[in-house]
């Protein structure tokens, strides 16, 4: 009998040794050909490097594995499954694109993987609320819900009107995508309350570039403001460039994800000057809201030679640290397996609006695992490009600059359509073309 007991014990020891955790695996998933995906990957690498230097998580070394969604639900779910089941990721962070996120949430539920996610549709936390046991592993870490985007946009209009502008008619240009439907549903009643009319709501597909016609139409419809709600289109730079060239009698202010990129001004040849945007994700390179955010931005610059290329970097960096914190709290509380997804969820939920955690932003989760919105948590700061720099212009608690009205709108005499002179090169090129034709005609006679 004792021989059998020894054999059983030996087997159990072997299983125990085999199953003993020797490292922590963090997965990062996103569209790796886009700045958003790159920022997520870079931020996770940086956080993991720092954590490993400090001894890892509960003494275990942390390893990073990367998945590419290619902004496609099929690739995204396949990659998520690979990270969760082949690479054995303990936690996955990232995402981007609400439609892709919905697909990945199913794989997350199936594999029971803690997912600190990026994407903004209210449909995601709604799933957590509807079927908690299935979707409880999902937490939004990067930015707020689409609903709160509407609050930010309404706040932006209040701020502009309080600063001498009289915005009564707006022309909306938005992604033809699920996430902007949610924003519009919440924005419309807020605008009605303020007696602001949407004179046109234009949806544009991914890669759309013909904005000049839309800008021209907005001006001819006497719109006071063009409101972009653009992320997936990926062409916010083209809109800003064409707006800056045409100099219409219409402000450009809204949610333009591309404008958050510190390289945006250069990409638009400086034509994005005076564009107002709501800084998604609650942080800007030029106005970090916390001490950790300030350090992170500088460490990122030192490691990669440039500042974070999108706000997703803050969310991904925070994801690694909040996961570490939750695991450590679980261990301290005597949990048998602090890495168990169910245990980690329990400890992440402790960071609620009453008990937020200060990372690069102040993070707190609601019961449906959406990120808490507000001046004291994460929100989209009202910001503006001014002479090559990004400034937060509202709310006052974090503002580091003041609103500047584009000069062609501010000065009365410049209100009539401006016809600028072409540079000398313009005439020269026409002349060269004409001479070439004349020369060729002579030569061929």
């Amino acid at each position: 009998m004792w021989k059998v007991a020894i054999v059983v014990l030996a087997i159990l020891v072997c299983i125990g040794v085999a199953a003993a955790k020797d490292k922590v695996v963090i997965g990062v998933i996103g569209p790796m050909s886009l700045p958003e995906g790159q920022a997520e990957k870079n931020a996770v690498m940086l956080a993991v490097e720092e954590i490993n230097e400090q001894g890892g998580i509960l003494g275990l070394e942390v390893e990073v594995v990367v998945g590419d969604t290619k902004l496609n639900p099929d690739s995204a779910t396949a990659e998520f499954r690979r990270l969760a089941t082949v690479e054995n990721a303990d936690m996955i962070t990232g995402g981007f694109s609400s439609g892709v996120m919905l697909a990945m949430m199913e794989t997350m539920a199936e594999t029971k993987t803690v997912f600190l996610a990026d994407a903004s549709s209210p449909a995601h936390p709604a799933k957590v609320a509807e079927n908690y046991e299935k979707y409880k592993y999902w937490f939004r870490i990067s930015q707020n819900n689409g609903t709160t985007f509407a609050w930010d946009l309404a706040d932006m209009l209040d701020f502009l009107n309080a600063n001498g502008l009289n915005i009564k008619k707006i022309y909306v240009i938005r992604d033809e995508h699920i996430w902007t439907d949610a924003v519009m549903n919440d924005l419309k009643p807020l605008l009605e309350k303020r007696n602001i009319e949407i004179i046109k709501d234009v949806q544009v597909p991914k890669g759309y570039t013909e904005y000049e016609q839309l800008i021209d139409e907005a001006e001819s419809l006497n719109a006071d403001l063009i409101m972009p709600i653009l992320a997936i289109a990926g062409t916010g730079d083209v809109l800003a460039k064409q707006w800056g060239t045409l100099k219409p009698k219409v402000m450009l202010a809204g949610h333009d994800l591309a404008a958050i990129d510190p390289g945006f001004f250069e990409k638009t040849d400086g034509l994005a000057n005076y564009e107002i945007f709501i800084a998604d994700g609650g942080a800007l390179v030029t106005a970090p809201p916390t001490e950790m955010c300030k350090k992170f931005i500088e460490a990122y610059k030192q490691k990669y030679g440039h500042y974070p290329e999108s706000h997703q970097a803050y969310g991904a960096y925070d994801a690694v640290y909040i996961y570490k914190k939750a695991v450590e709290e679980a261990s301290k509380a005597g949990e048998q397996d602090p890495f168990s997804p169910d245990v980690v969820v329990k400890y992440l939920e402790k960071y609620d609006p009453e008990n937020p955690i200060e990372l690069t932003r102040t993070i707190a989760f609601h019961k449906n695992h959406a990120l808490a919105w507000g001046d004291n948590y994460v929100r989209n700061w009202i910001s503006q490009w001014q002479d090559g720099k990004q400034y937060i212009i509202s709310p006052k608690t974090v503002a580091n600059g003041e609103l500047k009205i584009p000069p062609w709108l501010a000065e009365e005499e410049q209100k009539t359509p401006e016809t600028t002179k072409a540079t000398p090169g313009f005439g020269a090129l026409i002349a060269i073309a004409g001479l070439s034709i004349a020369w060729l005609r002579r030569k061929t006679k």
């Binding site: 700045p35 990926g234 100099k247 359509p417």
Partner: protein, 286 residues
Amino acid sequence: MIELVLKIIVFGAVVSGIWALVASGFSLIFGVARILNFAHGTLFVLSAYFGIVLVKNIGVNNYLAFILGILFVGIVGVIVFKLTISPIKTHEVMVVIVTLAIALLVEQFLLLIFGEHGISFPSLVGGIQNIGGIKITNIRILSLIIAIATLILLEFFITKTKTGKMITATSQDMEAAMLMGIDVDRIYLITMFISSILAGLGGLLYSQIFATTPIVSVKALIYAFAIVILGGLGSLRGSIIASFIVGYVIVVTITFLGARWSEFVMLLTIISILVVKPTGLFGVEE
């Protein structure tokens, strides 16, 4: 109403001009060498990326970078033709597969180096003009002028010069052209060079008005292909007229139906025309 019509005329003309350049290059190499170059859209974006690197990384003057960008894709086109297309040019399906593979390879390379977000070639001219109450950027006007001037030059070159006549002869009957002493391989190279610089010129103009991304190469290829089929495969004039039809369909759709419908209506129009006239507007049955 007059303002609306004028707006459609002005915007449509500019959009059409750039696509006419790209499509005429695509049509030219098909008409002469029977080559469906699926890497044509790649040449379109490659010129813009090369020009942008010259300006932003090396500090080359905008005008010089513009010219070097065009010449660069001309040379790339010739090298691609000589190394990959020429040995298999008699096998049309192989040509499609090889050029498509090159297009995908370059697209992935550009994605790795530059990412997916757009970058612009600095505008050669700034400012705007007010035409009948419509504000239009000088770069759009310049692009239209350059496109029209280039297409006129191309027409003169093809119909009036000795080399142009040899290109026409080769396109009409390759074997007869060879018997008349024309070096057909040299003519193919020249045609590929011209086809590539037309794509390159279109790409550089496009990236000044809009922005270039690696994905734009697919858009350029689809537009060029659709236009060339609509105009009639191999017909240069057909391609130019079809470009203007496509350009105006896009602008009219954006004006009356909305931006999201523009490409759908454009493709629907092309299919409808092809149902009625399967050889395209100026194509002939072989």
